[in-house]
């Protein structure tokens, strides 16, 4: 179960109190009625599904009730940061994903490392 920092309550709370809200920083067009099919498709249907850092919305639904944004590593499920709705998307390009920081020097032998990725 994830541990999530609510930027409004200013504390870490259990995932039980939150609801996921999909990708963050997708602005709803102000001229909604006039956008093209392609623009609507990009706005509503298409998402990146990245391996690594993702910016996403969460709602502290069983807490303060507020929506906020968070940056999470989709591989390790570690949260890099969370921030209030409306704040600009932070630049985390320099941040190392949490999974790349081994606590020891030993290198793991995984199925993927030895067999290659599934085809």
């Amino acid at each position: 179960m994830l541990l999530i920092y609510c930027p409004y309550c200013e504390e870490e709370r259990s995932e039980l109190e939150f609801r996921h809200g999909g990708d963050a920083h997708i602005a709803r067009p102000t001229n909604m009625a006039d956008i093209t099919d392609e623009e609507f498709q990009d706005f509503f249907f298409l998402r990146d599904n990245p391996k690594g850092l993702i910016f996403e919305r969460w709602r502290h639904i069983h807490g303060c009730g507020r929506f906020f944004n968070a940056a999470r590593d989709t591989v390790s499920d570690k949260f890099v940061m969370s921030y209030k709705a409306g704040e600009p998307k932070p630049d985390l390009s320099g941040a190392t994903p949490a999974t790349e920081k081994p606590l020891t020097e030993k290198v793991g032998e995984t199925h993927e490392a030895t067999e290659g990725t599934a085809k």
Binding site: S14, R28, M32, A33, F44, A85, T104, K106, G108, E109
Partner: protein, 997 residues
């Protein structure tokens, strides 16, 4: 004497404290602190179970949770019975009943043992081939056969009378395992001031110190040091020590699941105590000190009762005072097994021989063996065993061939070395690394804030383990902000350092042999089965595992994984790390459902929501239906009435006189603020700025994709205040949907949303006599038809309490919905009922509500729509504003597929035979004689017998439905085809005059 094999002066149990239990009906005496395994061994019982596939006689293999053979059924009484308990971890209590499993008619004579003779037919993967044809035999023959043979113990039939508890906890450092490593780590962390939780699955701390008598720590015997350290830790305010507690699952963000067995060892548990307690711990740091598990040797017939792990024999001797045999052989590839022989020899047991498959064992153990006069056969192997229900002799041969020599034994101890328990580390998503020098998988790259210490980290040597653990404890305490305490130092000494270990099949069980050399005891997987899997094309360890079922039993391959890998590696001619390791999954050992669900059972499984009028409805004979979590009055049968009779009567009564309906479950949201109308303009398709205070409007809410999401009547109470209603099931998601847009897309709007669903009780009074019923009870509202027209709302009083009175209808009759504060709901209902009943009105339930609304063609979102229906499809175009430049869904509605001709549209259906009521969900076709698969035009969404129409009515989603009015279509059913005519959806009062009456 509690068992002939108990040796006086050995072990830590008190001879005076006895307990009696039965095994397969026979009574045995045990000592307090015995496990079922130690008590049976004390009484000379080795045969305790039958294997899963071949029904071979099996004994006790281990002294821990890795036990694959000795699975038993334990009961206190009929209801308190648990199958598949591992005998070495179940403590004996007085009066306990133990049964063996997987045998019939008896353990010593088991008919299923014929499977052992038929084993050529049960080769690995046989079930993937054997049950393939004929197809028809599957249901009648194969499936019943497999179901009967499958599973181990028998599930209890009665409801579990025990209760289970659930607790959350937080700590700086969680230490899993309380052997030397775990105790040292916990001590160092605790002394530094950290909040520590230390858990161990055994009744007492100590781990390997239970059996390793040669260890001293700071001059104390290892076991005594462990108990003293635990006592010291327990006395510290910042430490929780949990024994009989298994850390079974390591989840995200250092969330660890523990299960504490509270009463399973007690003869007469306090009824107030839970049987088990689930701990959900969030630890800032985790230290894994889970130790290692000894592996067995893989050789022919290595599964007879009496053959067990060397460390297990040491535990039974040194902790329980039980000799596992009188003439004991040892077969090993590791120095560790020598110490078992030494301990037994010193206790007076004859050691027949130590058979070591290595040419060069460790010098120290070899010297000691010679000193004790034990025969050591180096470079030899045990190639076979004899003995029907218990091992009676072993065949020993020089490696590489030569004649075998039979040595009589009544027990054989074995060790192929030690497998570090990296289960929790692996569950934490850490990546293991293969250490070729020691042939072990060890923690490699960490994914979470944890450290492994001691033998689960591959650390050999007592002092090295102590120092590593102390350092880890202090490091983790410092990392969580604890600065206090003096540095802890401990000095440990022991007799021997161990060398050796092997993985894979031993002599006589190699390639080209067909002997039964068991790798996985619980699933009866032999070395030859793994080779067969490779020959049949399984080259990935994941495929081999599934084809052979190696490691798939309830012990999850704690003993078999490494052997399986090594055998596959040999046949595939690839190094072990190139084959990969299968993933370790939670739970580490089986966890009861009771512990996991805790109090969430029976009435607490899913809380029921009841309306303020529930008690009245119950008293008046209502039958209830579940709508979400709500209990809603479904219909009110009078004596002798069927559901059909009751609904017909209720339907007639509402249209002829009036009816009372509990509508309290409808979702209600108070939308307040200067921008409330603008906000609703964005949330609903309709225009709200044009709605005058005191008026209501039916609104449709879409998702951004243009499909109907919810609907409901919204009343405007003031310029800045709206009373929004939603569907019963949609209330929470509509609230979330509105909050989402308000907080994230339209934060500039000054609007506040409050869920008021449970604040208002709602009494619908519907029918031609509705006004007559209500008028005398209402104060401050002009009830005249012209002053209070259809679709308006007034505030005033009813029966002296405040009300929001809506003039609205979901029946097509003139009607009102009386909103009063929930606490007054039942009183106001009773007052209205007192007026209504003499006027010939009735109370009606949700079934009648459904029929009446269908008679008028009013849709129910979620029944007549399914997430792919637009307002235009549902003939609700009139409710979509053409003037607004924005609302949620405005763009989605213009998508090419949503404006295309031929979409499924909501229409009415009238069966040609008026007495036939269609089935909801039935498919509709144009030509019933077309070849299958038929082209389906749509399906029936709502269908009822309408008493008021004197015939059946239905609504349906039909492709191009509006253009098919008057057409005949067909509904093919299994027994007949029903002809229907497409109609509009209003079946009663097409002009709508009754609404305004």
């Amino acid at each position: 004497m509690s068992g002939a094999n108990r040796i006086a002066g050995q072990g830590r149990l008190t001879p005076a404290k006895t307990a009696r239990f039965t095994f397969d009906g026979k009574t045995y005496q045990a000592l307090e602190g015995d496990t079922v395994a130690s008590a049976l061994l004390a009484n000379g019982v080795h045969l305790v179970g039958r294997s899963f596939k071949y029904h071979r006689p099996r004994g006790i293999l281990s002294a821990g949770p890795e036990e694959p053979n000795a699975l038993i059924d334990v009961s206190r009484d009929v209801a308190r019975r648990q199958p598949n308990v591992r005998a070495p971890v179940q403590e004996v209590f007085d009066g306990m009943k133990v049964e063996s499993q997987n045998r019939w008619p008896s353990l010593s004579f088991d008919i299923g043992g014929v499977n052992n003779l038929l084993s050529p037919f049960f080769a690995a993967g046989f079930y993937y081939k054997t049950f393939m044809w004929p197809k028809a035999a599957w249901e009648k023959v194969y499936e019943p056969f497999i179901r009967k043979a499958a599973g181990l113990g028998v599930a209890p039939t009665e409801e579990d009378p025990d209760h289970y508890a659930n607790r959350y906890d937080h700590c700086d450092v969680l230490v899993a395992g309380a052997g030397v490593a775990g105790l040292a780590a916990a001590l160092a962390a605790a002394e530094a001031g950290a909040r520590v939780i230390l858990v161990d699955e055994q009744p007492e701390v100590g781990g390997a110190l239970h059996y390793d008598m040669s260890v001293t720590i700071d001059g104390q015997s290892g076991y005594e040091w462990a108990q003293a350290t635990a006592a010291k830790l327990k006395a510290m305010e910042n430490v929780t020590v949990l024994t009989r507690t298994t850390a079974f699952g390591y989840y995200n963000h250092n969330f660890v699941g523990l299960v504490e067995r509270v009463t399973d060892h007690l003869a007469k548990p306090d009824k107030k105590l839970p049987r088990e307690r689930l701990w959900q711990v969030r630890a800032k740091r985790v230290i894994l000190a889970t130790g290692s598990i000894e592996r067995h040797m893989v050789f022919a017939n290595n599964d007879r009762p009496g053959i067990m792990l060397a460390s297990a024999a040491r535990t039974y001797l040194n902790h329980f005072g039980v000799a596992v045999g009188r003439k004991v052989g040892v077969y090993t590839a590791s120095d560790s097994a020598y110490e078992a022989a030494f301990d037994l020899k010193r206790a007076g047991v004859t050691i027949a021989a130590i058979v070591d498959n290595r040419e060069k064992p460790g010098d120290a153990v070899l010297t000691e063996a010679r000193r004790l006069g034990i025969e050591v056969l180096t470079g030899h192997s045990v190639v076979d065993t004899k003995g029907k229900l218990r091992v009676s002799s072993i065949s020993v041969a020089r490696n590489g061939g030569g004649s075998a020599r039979a040595i009589p034994v009544d027990a054989l101890l074995m060790s192929a070395g030690w497998t570090p328990s990296v289960h929790l580390f692996s569950q934490s998503r850490g990546k293991v690394a293969y250490d070729a020098a020691s042939g072990r998988f060890l923690p490699g790259t960490y994914a979470q804030d944890c450290l492994s210490v001691g033998s689960c980290n591959g650390t050999d040597g007592l002092q090295a383990t102590i120092e590593e653990s102390l350092a880890a404890g202090e490091l983790m305490a410092r990392a969580t902000g604890n600065e206090g305490g003096a540095k802890v130092e401990l000095r440990g000494e022991n007799a021997f350092e161990w060398t050796g270990g092997m993985a894979g099949a031993g002599e006589g069980a190699g390639v080209d042999t067909t002997v039964k050399a068991f790798v996985d005891f619980q699933n009866d997987v032999c070395a030859k089965d793994i080779r067969l899997a490779v020959r049949e094309g399984m080259h990935s360890i994941e495929h081999i595992k599934r084809f052979t079922t190696n490691g798939m039993a309830t012990d999850q391959g704690k003993l078999s994984n490494i052997h399986g890998l090594a055998i596959a590696s040999e046949v595939l001619n690839r190094e072990i790390p190139k084959i990969g390791l299968t993933t370790f999954r939670a739970p580490y050992t089986p966890v009861t459902f009771g512990a996991l669900i805790s109090h969430s059972r029976g009435e607490l499984f899913d809380p029921a929501r009841k309306t303020p009028m529930h008690a009245w409805e119950e008293a008046h004979g209502a039958v209830f239906e579940d709508v979400g979590n709500w209990k809603r009055a479904w219909y009110y049968p009078r004596s002798g009435e069927t559901m059909h009779d009751a609904v017909n009567r209720e339907c007639r009564t509402v249209r002829n006189a009036a009816g009372l309906f509990d509508a309290s479950t409808l979702g209600k949201i108070e939308v307040v603020g200067p921008d409330a109308a603008e906000f609703l303009n964005l949330m609903y398709t309709n225009a709200w700025d044009t709605l005058k205070p005191g008026r209501c409007r039916y609104g449709i809410m879409l998702r951004e994709d243009g499909f109907v999401y919810d609907d409901g009547v919204v009343g405007r109470l003031a310029e800045d205040r709206f009373h929004v209603t939603t569907t019963t099931g949609g209330a929470p998601r509509v609230m979330n949907h509105m909050e989402d847009y308000l907080q994230t897309e339209f934060p500039h709007l000054k609007v506040w949303l409050t869920s008021t669903t449970e604040q208002w009780a709602v009494i619908a009074v519907q029918g031609p006599k509705a006004r007559e019923i209500l008028a005398p009870l209402v104060e401050g509202i002009d009830m005249a038809n012209e002053a209070f027209p259809h679709m308006s709302v007034r505030e005033g009083k009813i029966c002296g309490v405040p009300t929001r009175l809506f003039r609205m209808s979901f029946t097509g009759e003139a009607g009102f919905e009386v909103n009063v504060p929930a606490d007054y709901g039942q009183a106001v209902w009773e007052a209205i009922w007192a007026r209504a009943e003499p006027l010939g009105a009735c109370a009606y339930g949700t079934e009648t509500m459904h029929v009446l609304r269908a008679e008028k063609g009013y849709i129910i979102v979620g029944q007549d729509t399914d997430g792919t229906v637009t307002p235009h499809d549902a003939s609700l175009s009139w409710a979509v504003s053409k003037k607004k430049t924005d609302f949620v869904g405005i763009r989605g509605l213009k998508r090419p597929d949503l404006v295309k001709e031929g979409r499924k549209q909501l229409v009415g259906l009238l069966t040609k035979d008026p007495n036939v009521v269609l089935e909801e969900g039935a498919q509709i076709v144009a030509d019933p004689n077309q070849p299958k698969p038929m082209t389906m035009l749509g399906h029936v969404t709502s269908s009822y017998w309408s008493e008021n129409c004197g015939r059946s009515i239905a609504m349906a989603l039909v492709a191009g439905g509006q253009a098919r009015l008057g057409q005949t279509l067909y509904v093919p059913m299994p027994d007949r085809t029903i002809a229907v005519e497409v109609s509009d959806m209003v079946f009663v009062d097409k002009e709508g005059g009754r609404l305004n009456g």
